[in-house]
């Protein structure tokens, strides 16, 4: 059964019936993690890199920002028995949706900050599909961690 993850949102699960899914990943980034041993995983859809621009908002909606959302994602999966060293990590999104081609575009900044946070916390990415101009959808089955990606204009692929 599909569990929808909205924008600035996160869901974790160890229910084998659940399929976590999020749409409209433009400049936003989707981070999916899965622990094969305990069959638990999570999906985060964040919008902005740095919560210091609005700490009040970050308290209220930590999933809006990479620096508050990513730790929350991992810690929430830890609560379901997940261990960082066993977790498969997938990162998708970070498109340049701004037509003006602004250099410090948010998609790229989001991706840079994911890599920075991961590096600080000894996390290595197992699969990524980032950049470009399209919108992305990602879904992950909690039963076995199988994950699918769809980029706008293309077919859905298993990753």
């Amino acid at each position: 059964m599909n569990i929808l993850v909205g924008v600035a949102d996160m869901k974790v699960s160890n229910d084998p019936e659940s399929i976590l899914v999020t749409h409209s990943l433009g400049s936003c980034i989707g981070v999916a993690v899965y622990d094969q041993r305990v069959h638990a995983g999570g999906l985060l859809h964040f919008m902005l890199p740095d919560s210091s621009i609005d700490p009040g908002k970050a308290q209220e909606k930590p999933c809006m920002f990479a620096d508050t959302g990513i730790p929350l994602l991992f810690k929430s999966v830890y609560k379901l028995g997940g261990k960082k060293q066993r977790m498969k990590v997938i990162v998708v999104g970070g498109s340049q949706v701004n037509d003006r081609g602004e250099f410090f575009n948010i998609g790229k900044r989001n991706y840079m900050v994911v890599r920075k946070i991961f590096w600080k916390n000894n996390v290595i990415i197992d699969y990524q599909h980032v950049g470009g101009n399209g919108n992305r959808t990602i879904k992950m089955a909690i039963k076995d961690g199988h994950t699918w990606l769809k980029v706008s204009g293309e077919n859905m692929i298993e990753i």
Binding site: Y78, Q85, I124, I125
Partner: protein, 142 residues
């Protein structure tokens, strides 16, 4: 199996980066050593059992190629796999590294993912991701 690994690089921060990458890679690390020059590395190799050496090419006094040449002269050391880390991009140089005995190379700048893939390629295979015995002292957020 736990791998004993030696890092040889005159740059203190680069040694830290390589150590951190090894820790994050999931490779089962036994002992992890770091030295700043080839001479100290050779002395250590005579005392400790090592399964892999990562050596920087551009070091003062003894560069990575000269270090590998010394290893190759020794019966016990010559079969230890060596990964050359380097900013070199010229095909001729890379070819020379492999011809002179480097098992593989990691070109700087590198992502931790690229380094991990090279480590697995040289040591052989991924692990099941269980915690390695190597512990660092970083303050992690999660």
């Amino acid at each position: 199996m736990a791998y004993n690994i030696l890092i040889v690089d005159d740059s203190l921060p680069m040694r830290s980066v390589i150590k951190k990458t090894i820790k994050a890679s999931g490779v089962n690390v036994g002992k992890l050593f770091e030295v700043s020059n080839g001479r100290d590395a050779l002395a250590l190799l005579k005392k400790e059992w090592l399964d892999l050496v990562l050596v920087d090419y551009n070091m003062p006094n003894m560069n990575g190629l000269e270090f590998i040449a010394e290893m190759k002269k020794d019966e016990l050391l010559k079969s230890i796999p060596v990964i050359m880390t380097t900013v070199e991009g010229s095909r001729q140089r890379i070819k020379e590294f492999i011809e002179k005995g480097a098992t593989d190379y990691i070109k700087k700048p590198f992502t931790p993912e690229e380094a991990r893939d090279k480590l697995y390629k040289v040591i052989g295979g991924a692990t099941d991701g269980e915690a390695s015995s190597y512990t660092g002292d970083e303050a992690l957020d999660f």
